[in-house]
Amino acid sequence: MKDIARQSMSIKVESMDLLNGQIKMEAHASATYLAMASWCEQNGFFTSAKFFFKQAEEEREHMMKIFNFLVDTGGNPISPEVTDINHDYSSIVDVFESTLEHEVKVTQSIHNIVKKAREMGDIATERFLDWFVMEQVEEENTIRDILDMIEVTGTEGVGLQMIDNQVANWID
């Protein structure tokens, strides 16, 4: 019997399912950052809003990278349904702490796919995710640096205004 399926598709269907899950996660992250940008705009943190608009775009780019990988490998990329986006935050500190939590979850999910791809011997998926592994190190580091800056600056007096101004250092 000819290997028609393998000739049409370069990765395993289980990898495809995991990557479709990651597409959903990146889309959710993008929508979450957009909600954070909205919160920042409404609460007078205009520089932080710019930061989150940029983050939202980046997450969408990540999503499209995975989407296009599935197209290139002959898979079936699924346009994700995005629900349950939180729009309520108690403070700017809460916003950045939630961001770090979110990034850690994304990192764990990517590491999980790498491990599964390795178990399956799916080298293409494993190598494709190399870029994401390093990108997550950078993303987590950025948010950790911002949280460190918040701690050093403090939120008393003009602290909040100074925090917002300094977020500009992390906008390329």
Binding site: K2, I4, A5, K12, E14, G74, G75, N76, M120
Partner: protein, 105 residues
């Protein structure tokens, strides 16, 4: 055409010369590309079969499946859905793009 896998109600075939697959649904046989087979797999995976056992969530116990870009429409009951899931699951193992291994019975 080569038989890839046969379940209780359905049979998956591979047609080498046409580079496609066929599923015999009993009342009709449907020609499918790999993309369409992947799409069927996704639709089946999206079905919450546990809802079939809760009369509030799925009172009739049926699923409507539209296949091959709305070319075909099937109304399947719980047992047929489970059997189709089995066909697709084993079928993907046999055609070599699933990491799962075929259990030796």
């Amino acid at each position: 055409m080569n038989v890839v896998f046969q379940s209780t109600y359905y049979t998956l075939y591979q047609a080498n010369n046409e580079r496609c697959f066929y599923i015999d649904f009993g009342q009709k046989t449907v020609r499918m590309s790999l993309c369409q087979l992947l799409s069927l797999r996704h639709k089946l995976m999206s079905i919450a079969i546990e809802n079939h056992f809760d009369s509030d969530l799925n009172s009739h116990g049926f699923e409507v499946l539209m296949l091959c870009n709305k070319e075909h429409l099937f109304v399947l009951n719980t047992l047929e859905i489970l059997d189709l899931k089995k066909l697709v699951d084993h079928g993907f193992m046999e055609i070599g793009i699933s990491a799962k291994t075929v259990a030796i019975v």
